[in-house]
Amino acid sequence: MVRKVKDTGLIQDEPLIFEQGRKGRKGYSLPRWDVEKVEAKDILSSSLLREDLDSFPQLSEVDVVRHFTRLSQWNYGVDSGFYPLGSCTMKYNPKINEEMARMEGFSNIHPYTPEPLAQGILKLMYDLGVYLAEITGMDQVSLQPAAGAHGELTGLLMIKKCLEDRGERRTKVLVPDTAHGTNCSTSTIASLQMIEIKSNEKGVIPPEQVALKMDEKVAAIMVTNPNTLGLFEEYLSEISEIVHQKGGFVYCDGANLNALMGVVKLGDLGVDVVHINLHKTFSTPHGGGGPGSGPVAIKKELSPYLPIPVIEKDVNTYRLNENRPKSIGKVRAFYGNFGVLIKAYSYLLTMGPEGLKRVSEMAVLNANYLMRRLKGYYHLPYDRSCMHECVFTDHFQEKYHVSTLDIAKRLIDYGYHPPTIYFPLVVKGALMIEPTETESKESLDRFIETMITIAREAEENPDLLRQAPSRVKVRRLDEVLAARRPKLKWTGDR
């Protein structure tokens, strides 16, 4: 079958790995057989044996390489261009950090390596914890959570455990309406009932609302700061006081820490627990959906409840302490996404204190610059100075029957990754733009002009937007069909 002319010299069609290959091929060479071959059937009853692996791919190495090379060519990454996906902090991922994580003395080390042989690794983790505590103004850090949401769960469980130790059984958690979905679902997973707090017309949590909802059944409030509107929660210290007075804890979602480093410490605002997304603020790559790392930083009071093991330092020796009777237990096997931690640690040393502050300043500068320049063209629901990101809407474009989705897809035609759309939920038709500090002014200027062009197109030729994207591998995809008739794996029919 000749491929459809949709293929071009550079972007090619490519069937599924299962639709290729031929019986008998493989793309792997096994080490030499230097022991006698044992047949599984000689030691196991046939009911325990696999009958066949027939549906597995059968390809030579070159086919595998071409397959995944082509697939990659359908993707757009930070290295391809501007990726202003709000709330995701898609900053540049330094190449050197990838090299560091690949060093054999890290990548090839077994987690049960005896501690005396892993002192450098333990030191790296210990020090990283100390540095993150300094940045957030907290007392101690666990590096174990594998992502932000995992950090949230770890944090809430620690709070619950601490409350239980105090003999309290609190069942609720306050969460603002601007919160990320993980905050809500984590509450549920932690078996806490979520009580929503409405943000005010300025986009932030009004302390009065908190005072109103706060009671002895509330274990904690979960605040994101800066919040998902890109706004600094300016009443956080008041809120903390209110919550603390009623015996609750302040959990901070620190996914947006990129705005605050070296500027303010969350711990100083009364925060008791905060998780940090290393895969956002600390430049570790997102990998198309992980791996990430979501350390939690805590105040002293919560220390006994940290997940085990805790890395401890005795003079110059580091060890993994599992013997912490009040701990919430384990949240994962082993000690954390060490491969990711190496990258964050490398980033931190490369930047230094001055550099991290610069990161936050430039992230905020970039976001405000974008916001000011786009203001006349797109509706800005909260017209005030922002932090690391800004949120527009499609309100001005509604009259042309053009939606946020259309604007986003049209950006693809111009060679951009779209912003986050339709989030936060409190903003109808939200377009959430986070430029990050690694974009240059020219890069922002080009994006701004493109956005202005699109605003003009919406007026003059709205179909261009509704039909977008028109120049990538596939055009707009039918998501409804996908959900209505889920096809979640290859089944041999096409």
Binding site: I17, Y28, P57, V78, G105, V474
Partner: protein
């Protein structure tokens, strides 16, 4: 001197122009909303900045030495074909976010679709998600899911499940006040004790959790368990930590498991001192709406061409918020890609042969130790690539001796099973050359003599 960092492009001139456009004078003005009281006046107390060559020098000095490795227990030393690091180092893969915008993420999406298919094939199940954090948390989420489905209060958990996985399950179910009932292993065979299991099994049990190969490397006799479990309306959850075993073992799905959840590190993912790894999670189609994690589905575009999208998101936190099936958001996408490439390279023949080689090497090691005085195999049931060895001396001393020869000779089981205080878990993979096994045995023999 002007501050400069190679990752931040702003020159002084840029900054001035931008401030002007914004309409403020100084950078600090942008932070006015933060009360002066809290704004830091001193720099953070942190090291750095250091240059790239200095960074390399520093990190080099932190590395661990590379020893011959007989460690396993949930993390395995397998060969990683060079095409994997080569391909995942393509920035179009590793510098992208979760594929929310399908039109410019088809590469990631098709790869996950392939991953889901491969995981279904590997585990013998009907649907797989796009990954979980690791084997332990995946198994814990399986227990939560069984609870959502059955609403029953008890979980029967085999003691032969990886001890760390068991701890994680405990942590996850703690808020639900579910009750965990431990099912011991047979002292002779090393399998989960079926008699006790069946004894505890009743209508209150949401799930039975076993692992195969279990923590002792022993292959559980799933066919003998599954029927009884289903009789009480409970679900059978099968965990695993060594995915390569399924190159020769019947996949748990084909034996009737309801959820299969485990660790995929063996599929081309570096050891990296314990992470990032890959949580595999697969189940029956009828449970799909109760499943945690992301899913990729096939669909068509405006012109009828095949394409892939994230789907069934109504289970997920970003749509369903507090009613989601899980709070997972970022998962282990790149590790799932590694596993996909790994299985594509190995293919049918390779996976089978690799599994057989692991089996054969471990059997060889067993044969060698069987001739050494002062130690013996502790269990008699068949194993895959690891086994428990009972030694007559202090196992820590023996391990020290081996370490002096640059060998990580096994895992002492005392920390996990007090009753196995003179026992070592020995893991042998295709990476252990026969000479290495012989050398290990020789030192072992000496230290037991």
């Amino acid at each position: 001197m002007e501050y400069f960092c190679r990752f931040i492009p702003h020159t002084e001139e840029d900054i001035q122009e931008m401030l002007k456009a914004i309409g403020v004078e100084r950078l600090e003005d942008l932070f006015e909303v933060i009360s002066e009281n809290y704004r830091l006046s001193n720099p953070l107390n942190l090291p750095g900045p250091i240059s790239e060559p200095e960074l390399i020098g520093h990190l080099r000095s932190l590395q661990s030495p590379l020893y011959t490795c007989f460690l396993g227990g949930g993390a395995y030393h397998h060969f990683i074909p060079s095409v994997i690091p080569h391909l995942v180092a393509r920035s179009e893969f590793y510098t992208t976010y979760t594929p929310y915008q399908p039109e410019i993420s088809q590469g990631t999406l098709q790869a996950i679709f392939e991953y889901q298919t491969l995981m279904c094939q590997l585990t013998g199940m009907e649907v797989s998600n796009a990954s979980m954090y690791d084997g332990a948390s995946s198994l814990a989420e399986a227990v939560l899911m069984a609870y959502r489905i059955t609403k029953k209060k008890k979980v029967l958990l085999s003691e032969a499940v990886h001890p760390e996985y068991r701890k994680v399950i405990q942590t996850y179910i703690d808020p639900y006040q579910q009750q965990i009932i431990m099912i011991p292993y047979e002292k002779e065979g090393g399998r989960t004790d079926r008699e006790i299991l069946f004894d505890r099994l009743n209508g209150d049990v949401s799930a039975v959790v076993v692992q195969s190969p279990n923590f002792f490397g022993i292959i559980e006799d799933l066919p003998k368990i599954v029927e009884k479990v289903h009789l009480t309306g409970s679900l059978l959850i099968v965990g695993f930590s060594e995915a390569i075993a399924y190159g020769i073992l019947a996949p748990p799905g084909s034996l009737g498991a309801d959820i299969v959840a485990g660790e995929g590190q063996s599929l081309g993912i570096p050891l990296s001192y314990g992470g990032p790894y890959l949580g595999i999670f697969s189940t029956r189609e009828r449970f799909v709406r109760n499943m945690p994690g992301r899913l990729v589905g096939e669909t068509i575009d405006l012109e009828g061409r095949r394409g892939f999208v994230l789907t069934l998101a109504t289970r997920e936190q970003h749509i369903r918020r507090e009613r989601a099936t899980s709070n997972i958001c970022t998962n282990e996408g790149l590790c799932a890609l590694m596993a996909t490439i790994f299985l594509s390279c190995l293919g049918k023949e390779g996976l089978k042969e690799l599994a057989q080689m692991n089996l054969s090497k471990a059997e060889y090691a067993k044969k060698v130790v069987s001739q050494i005085r002062g130690c013996k195999l502790n269990f008699n049931a068949p194993t895959f690539n690891e086994f428990v060895l009972e030694v007559e001396r202090d196992p820590e001393r023996i391990l020290d001796k081996l370490r002096e020869e640059k060998i990580l000779g096994g895992l002492s089981l005392r920390r996990f099973y007090p009753e196995l205080s003179r026992h070592l878990l020995i893991t042998v993979t295709e990476m252990n050359k026969r000479e290495e096994i012989d050398r290990w045995a020789e030192i072992l023999a000496k230290s037991l003599a």
